[in-house]
Structure formats: structure tokens, C-alpha cells
Amino acid sequence: MNDKVLEVKDLTVSIDGRRVIDKVDFDLHPGRILALVGESGSGKTLTALAVLDLLPMVSVREKGEIKFKGRNVFDLETGEMRKIRGDGIAMVFQEPFTALNPVMRAGDQISEAIVAHKGYSRIRVAGRVKELLDMVKLSPETSGRYPHELSGGMRQRVILAMALACDPDVLILDEPTTALDVSIQKQILDLIKQIQEENRFAILFITHDFSVVNMIADEVCVMKQGTVVEKGTKEEVLGRPRERYTRRLISCIPRLGDRRERLPV
């Protein structure tokens, strides 16, 4: 039985003659989290953009396909793909502080995400907003607040609510906790796992930090300069990394109780 909600096959993209995504392969399954790990410039964000067919105009897709529920996104009409973005596949981009409109209240921004895709009545939208705020553990009063009145963690929850508004099948999160304190990061990651358990969507989680991978991932893809250098379950990649690059990325994170004088670089 094929329960892959997203299949990326042999994806190869160039910009200015340089391969920025090189034969990338991975699948997403409902209820599972795949972490795409790599340093800045490894191609992970571009890969996420490819899934949404939002690659920059200057890029050239040399080969490969991305199937969302069996249909290749690159073959879809503009209108069809636009319906999928935000509804079937939702994405939370990096930079949470600039993702929210500073002159709109949180509730209105979440409503916008719903209204764009569903023809709900005003009452139904309001009800859904309340439901979503509850899902991300924010009080109903948050609806009337402006982004600057919310802490970083609260803003990230609002953005999450917007992404979940239309009950997507795939949620892409690009470094969602990078700008947050470690304690808030833990709360957000726990929240994401809990919501996923209740709603069974697939998650593509992009990060540069293996300790975050350890907290959240089921499967892992390690990317370096556009290629997937290692792939496997979290236990395999973290516990028995085969590639030197993977081992290096894992070991450069300082650890509690670590008495090393220098970090490996």
C-alpha cells in the first residue's frame, strides 16, 4: 500500500549552471517527520520551495519530479497549484518575526489563511480561528493582539496556526525554532509533535541543528551542497552515522557535561 503523501524523485535543479539541488530523493508519510539537515547553502530551503513549485525564476529544473498525492506538481496548472499551496501543502518560512503583518491582528491573519482557500461563512471562520488558537495553546484573547504585543514563542504559534488553518496534508517547517530560546524551542517542538499526533499530516522539518533533529525527527536526510549525503531513520543516522560529514555536524554541538576544550570544526 502506497501511503506516501509526497514523493521527491531524482530532483535536480541548477542556477547559473551550478547544481543547487542534485539528484535529491525522499518521501513523506502521514504522521511522520522527515528532517532535512544541513548547513546554510546546502539546498534544503530550495528543496522545500521546489515542493511548492516556488523555485526562483532563474532556476532550471534539469530533471526529477515531485508527486503530491500521486500528481507531479510540475505538471499542474497555475490555478491548481495555487489551490494546493496553503491548503494541501503549507509552509512556515524562516524569520518568524517578519512572517507576520505588523499592522494586522493575529486573529485576522489566521482568518486570511482560511478565507483564501475555503468559502466559509464569517461565523464558521471565527469558530475555526478559535479552534486553531486552542490547538496551538494560545488564549482566545490572542486573536485581538498585534504581533508586537506577542512574545517570540507566541508569534511562532500564530504562524503555526496559520499554516494549519486549512488542515494540510503536508507541513513544511523551515528552521521554525532557530530564533527562539532553547526552552521555548522545546515547547514549540513538543507542540508540533502533539498536533501531528492528533491530525496525522506529514512534516518536512528543515534545520541545521542535530539536537533539534534528535528531538523531533523520525527520518533524516543530510544535505551537503545540494546532495543528500546520508539518509535513514533518526536512530540510524544519529546513532551510527556512516558519513564523515554527518559525524562532524553531530559532534560540533556543545553538550552538557562536555569537558572538551575545543569543538571539532
Binding site: D181, H208, F210
Partner: protein, 245 residues
């Protein structure tokens, strides 16, 4: 020998005026009676969540802000490195100009500025020939942070305050900057006040650690004590949220 940095019951309140009748609201007690000392050549790590007042302490130590009460005794020149290397570097100045600016405004001769900037770039391992004349956007995040460190070091201060210096960098780049900071401390005998929300990084860098919450220090101890035998509930809470690997 006397400590390089002595902070005694420092307080800094911020007042807001709001409302129709301009009633003064309860002031925000950003720093509410903080005391600590730092010995020469040591690192004092200040850890706490966003909003606890640690950045305010950084600004108080280097003199960007003045305390409302309490005292500070600083026994050497001090300088500061901020979190976001991109916004703290003037995009219209070259690396050379950014680093040399503090010398220029003090009337140092051009030739001497050049040699001191070159020397400082070498210290932060950015001594490839084209580096000095490049603009911030032409560097990577880690390199920009090295420029920010060079700028802070060019006048050879004895004390460096580092406010979340690696938080916006990839972990692999963080490692390089942390190693560099340790090397520089050894080479130049620097005293550090190292501020971060990340306990792992603070543990790696510090000799002593202060845990801040809502403007106060809830615990202050040596690195070993904080991590192996934390006393305050809040410290334990912070330790528990650290991602394990």
C-alpha cells in the same frame, strides 16, 4: 588581584507613560539588583531567557546605558560584540573601515590604523588579502561575526562583553567562533562576560555562571556546580529544556 569587573546591586528600570492622562505605569524592572564579579582572564556566563535583562546588563557594563542605582567598577577598557552580525555592521563600509573606525575617531594616524587593522584581522583568522576591502554582504555569517569581534578587539580592550554572539549562526559555524573566542582569551588575556540563552554554549565557555530571571540572579555558581548540582528550580527547568543528542 582585584577583579576586572565588579557589579554591585545594579538596577535599571524603564518607565513607560501610557493612557489618556499620561499616568506613569509601573516601571519595567529590567535589572533589579544584580551583583557579580569577574576575575581577570575568566569568563562569566550570564544565562536566561529572552526578556530576563541580560542584554540590559551588557549595555550597562559597557556604558551604553546608565544604571538607576548600584555601582559598577570596571578595571580595564571594555568593548562589546552583539548577536546579529549583519545589522551591527554598516553595510556601506568595508571590513577595514568598520574595524578601523574607533581608531580613526580617536585621531590615530592612517598608517598605524592600517597596520593595527591588519594585525587584528589576522587575530580573527580573516587575513586573506581581499578581506579587508570587502563589504559585509560579501561575507558569510560566521565571517561577519569575526569582523564584529575584530572591531571590538582593535583597541585591545581588557574586557569583552559578548551578547548572544553565536545565536544566529549555524551550529558548525558557531563551533568555529567559540573556539576562536577561547583562543583569543588565551592569547590576549581577555576577561569575558558571555551572555546567551543557550546553556550548552554557556557551559562550554564559562568559568562561572549566573542565571537570570526577570531582572534578578536566581543562582550564581561555578560552572561545575551549576550543571552538576543546580540549586534553583528555574536553573533546573532551563537544564531540562536543553535538547539532548
Amino acid at each position: 588581584m582585584e577583579p576586572m569587573v565588579e557589579v554591585i546591586d545594579l538596577k535599571k528600570y524603564f518607565r513607560e507613560r501610557k493612557g489618556l492622562f499620561r499616568h506613569e505605569k509601573e516601571p519595567i524592572k529590567a535589572v533589579d539588583g544584580v551583583s557579580f564579579t569577574v576575575e581577570k582572564g575568566r569568563t562569566f556566563g550570564l544565562v536566561g531567557e529572552s526578556g530576563c535583562g541580560k542584554s540590559t546588563i551588557a549595555k550597562l557594563i559597557v556604558g551604553i546605558l546608565s544604571p538607576d542605582s548600584g555601582r559598577k567598577i570596571i578595571r580595564a577598557d571594555r568593548d562589546i560584540v552583539f548577536q546579529d552580525p549583519f545589522s551591527s555592521l554598516n553595510p556601506r563600509m568595508t571590513a577595514k573601515e568598520i574595524i578601523g573606525e574607533s581608531l580613526l575617531v580617536r585621531g590615530v594616524r592612517k598608517k598605524e590604523i592600517e597596520s593595527r587593522v591588519r594585525e587584528t584581522l589576522r587575530l580573527v583568522r580573516l587575513d586573506g588579502p581581499p578581506c579587508a576591502d570587502k563589504y559585509p554582504h560579501q561575507f558569510s555569517g560566521g565571517e561577519r561575526q569575526r569582523i564584529a569581534i575584530a572591531r571590538a578587539l582593535v583597541r585591545r580592550p581588557g574586557i569583552l562583553v559578548l551578547d548572544e554572539p553565536v545565536s544566529s549562526l549555524d551550529v558548525s559555524i558557531q563551533a568555529g567562533i567559540l573556539n576562536l573566542l577561547k583562543d583569543l582569551q588565551g592569547e590576549l588575556g581577555l576577561t569575558y562576560v558571555f551572555i546567551s540563552h543557550d546553556l550548552r554554549v554557556v557551559e562550554f565557555m564559562s568559568d562561572f555562571v549566573g542565571v537570570m530571571k526577570e531582572g534578578r540572579l536566581v543562582e550564581i555558581a561555578s560552572r561545575e556546580e551549576i550543571y552538576s548540582a543546580p540549586k534553583a528550580e528555574y536553573t533546573k527547568h532551563l537544564l531540562e529544556s536543553i535538547p539532548k543528542i
